[in-house]
């Protein structure tokens, strides 16, 4: 480096950038000056590394801000309403005088649509993933997979609209029920939102199972179906479990579908054809008409806290499963 000629140092400029190139020119004429330049580069690199690490941590900061601002507004409610009355109360009449802020029916509403929709979405979503991984030829796969991705990008308001305009009248007429805006309809639409999540994560998990395990099973004379149930699925179980939980979390947090299709009655449902008012729908429907800083306003933020904690719980469980039971090569099977 110390006997580098000026011409060579110019030649290195485009790669190293003008400043570093010029600095190297100086270094060539006076070797002792090398250390500070190296140090300066190191300093710069350190700063750049810090900046990018900060950018990486930004998501964590946003999560913290979300928690902070939900609680900042939400806790005011608990000056007048006790936590148990809020969670377990069975009457949600926020605009009455005196108002009732019991979100029991809203929680049950959220749970019911989440549960029913996963009963629909899990078999279909996992089935579709197995089709992609095992049955479809590569050529068909190439065409079918984007279809699933397109379903994922369908805006939720469109699904809500379809549920309201198409499915609801159909259901009402065919089943002779008072309203088509009910748990079953909302669950059908939510299932369509959850299926792409379930399918794509399950498929990734199926592909992560080592090929040689399956080949060994086939070589022993097992059919592809036997290989699938005894080798592939056990190996991919944690991934499929993660997919199911994330799909359920998606269904629980989804807003527009339940706002438009679930019917909006804050009651404890007794059948699939009852209307419910899940938590996201309550927040979305009532925030617009609530005076800023009123008890009702704080109550909606408090519902936001409950919803946030529930979905966070789902996501943490999913992350735990996928980390804990991850298939790392054939050895752990």
């Amino acid at each position: 480096m110390s006997n580098i000629s000026p011409a060579q140092s110019v030649a290195t400029q485009p790669l190293a950038g003008p400043a570093a190139g010029a600095a190297k020119g100086v270094a060539a004429s006076s070797p002792p000056a090398r250390t500070p330049i190296g140090a300066r580069n190191r300093d710069r690199e350190t700063w750049i590394r810090i900046v990018f690490t900060a950018a990486g941590l930004f998501s964590v900061v946003v999560m913290a801000l979300i928690v902070l601002f939900l609680f900042r507004e939400g806790v005011y409610l608990f000056k007048t309403v006790s936590l148990t009355d809020f969670i377990f109360g069975t009457a949600w009449y926020p605009t009455y005088d005196p108002p009732d802020f019991g979100i029991g029916p809203l929680i049950v509403g959220s749970m019911s649509v989440t549960l029913v929709s996963s009963l629909i979405a899990v078999p279909l979503g996992v089935g579709a993933a197995l089709y992609l991984a095992e049955v479809a030829s590569p050529r068909v796969r190439e065409w079918v997979k984007p279809g699933v991705e397109l379903l994922a990008s369908l805006p939720s308001v469109v699904l809500g609209f379809v549920g309201m305009v198409v499915i609801a009248p159909l259901m009402q007429e065919m089943l002779d029920i008072p309203t088509g805006l009910n748990i079953l309809n909302a669950s059908l639409m939510l299932a369509l939102m959850a299926i792409p999540t379930i399918t794509s994560i399950s498929e990734d998990a199926l592909y992560a199972v080592p090929r040689d395990l399956m080949e060994a099973s086939l070589a022993l004379g097992a059919t592809r179906w036997e290989t699938l149930t005894r080798v592939l699925l056990p190996g991919a179980l944690s991934g499929v479990g993660t997919a199911v939980i994330l799909g359920m979390s998606r269904a629980m947090g989804e807003t527009m579908v339940v706002l438009m299709v679930a019917g909006g009655a804050a009651q404890i449902p007794t059948s699939l054809f009852d209307s419910v008012r899940p938590m996201p729908a309550t927040i979305a429907a009532e925030m617009g008409e609530t005076p800023f800083g009123s008890e009702h306003y704080y109550a909606l933020f408090a519902i936001g806290i409950v919803l946030f904690l529930l979905t966070l719980g789902f996501n943490l469980v999913a992350a735990w499963i996928s980390g804990r039971f991850q298939q790392k090569g054939a050895a752990t099977l």
């Binding site: 790669l15 190293a16 950038g17 690199e45 750049i48 590394r49 900046v51 990018f52 690490t53 950018a55 990486g56 941590l57 930004f58 998501s59 964590v60 946003v62 999560m63 801000l65 979300i66 601002f69 939900l70 507004e73 279909l124 996992v126 089935g127 579709a128 197995l130 049955v135 079918v144 991705e149 397109l150 379903l151 369908l154 805006p155 939720s156 308001v157 469109v158 609209f161 379809v162 369509l192 299926i195 399918t199 059919t223 592809r224 179906w225 947090g253 989804e254 438009m260 996201p280 927040i283 979305a284 925030m287 800023f292 936001g304 919803l307 946030f308 979905t311 966070l312 789902f314 992350a319």
Partner: protein, 289 residues
């Protein structure tokens, strides 16, 4: 034919695979059915006037021009927020992070941010941007909220793009004496750029279709005027659909307008996604470094 005979086992395999085929068919038919239905009903209300004129006659006639423009403003704002932050975060993940506690925390943060319900983002945007920072219900507040919402999408796609750049590229650059940052800026980022752009298109599509986050932060039911600053409220396509379908006084009368708006939104969102998916597939196939 016994339970264990080869033909019985083969039959079970065929039956099971038929069930999987059926599952995929149901999924695809639902998508196709929805698209076809909207296309058939919406095509009739599409016209140049519908796209280029504001609503008239208390929303029962006219077009959706302000809503289209509002959605474009909000989406552009969102990607301006999410792209720099997302790309920087993905550079950290793929180029700088080493296995350790910080990486674990970052991954957990991104995963959980992706799982936050959109209506909670709306509350957060209302609390932080609209009220605390005093931005009011505005394009700015809505764009920031949507930008944070699509951040995990952009990070995920960018990281995948960066990881697809072969490590030999980096090693060659480092071996020539370039520093890590010079390597990233001059070698890795240019190679990953198409993938990063694809990811941002997916993010744009997501932002354009979201309703709940902009309900309390940016959207208004009706403005006669186009926004004149980033502090204006705007109409937006998804919110327009919701309001027309649920809250108008002429719900049945405006049905054609609703179908038309749904069709425009679907064309916008699915069009963007389709472009992203096709370019990605093509890139994966042709790129043999």
């Amino acid at each position: 034919m016994s339970w264990h005979s080869l033909s019985a086992r083969k039959l079970r395999e065929a039956l099971a695979f038929m069930v999987f085929r059926l599952a995929m068919l149901v999924v695809l038919l639902s998508l196709g059915g929805i698209l076809l239905f909207v296309l058939i009903h919406g095509l009739g209300s599409l016209s140049w006037e519908f796209i280029s004129q504001p609503p008239r006659n208390s929303m029962t006639e006219g077009g959706i021009f302000p809503a289209i423009m509002g959605t474009i403003y909000l989406t552009l704002g969102a990607i301006l927020v999410a792209l720099p932050l997302g790309v920087a975060a993905s550079i950290y993940l793929s180029e700088y992070a080493s296995d350790g506690r910080i990486l674990k925390v970052v991954r957990l943060g991104i995963q959980n941010l992706a799982g936050v319900p959109s209506v909670v983002f709306g509350l957060f945007g209302l609390g932080l941007f609209v009220v605390f920072f005093g931005m009011g219900v505005s394009i700015l507040a809505g764009s920031l909220t949507l930008g944070l919402l699509i951040l995990p999408t952009v990070i995920g796609a960018s990281e995948e793009a960066l990881r697809q750049v072969p490590s030999t590229f980096r090693e060659a650059s480092l071996a020539l004496g370039a520093t890590r940052w010079q390597t990233i800026r001059k070698v890795v980022l240019p190679a990953a750029l198409p993938g990063i752009l694809t990811g941002s298109i997916l993010g744009i599509g997501r932002a354009a279709g979201e309703t709940a986050p902009i309900m309390f932060t940016a959207a208004t039911f009706y403005t006669l005027y186009l926004p004149d600053s980033i502090f204006s409220q705007v109409m937006a396509l998804p919110y327009h659909i919701y309001v027309l379908a649920t809250a108008g006084t002429h719900i049945a009368q405006t049905r054609p307008l609703q179908y038309g708006t749904v069709l425009v939104l679907i064309c916008l969102v699915l069009g963007l996604s389709l472009v992203a998916i096709i370019t990605r597939t093509r890139m994966r196939r042709t790129k043999k470094w």
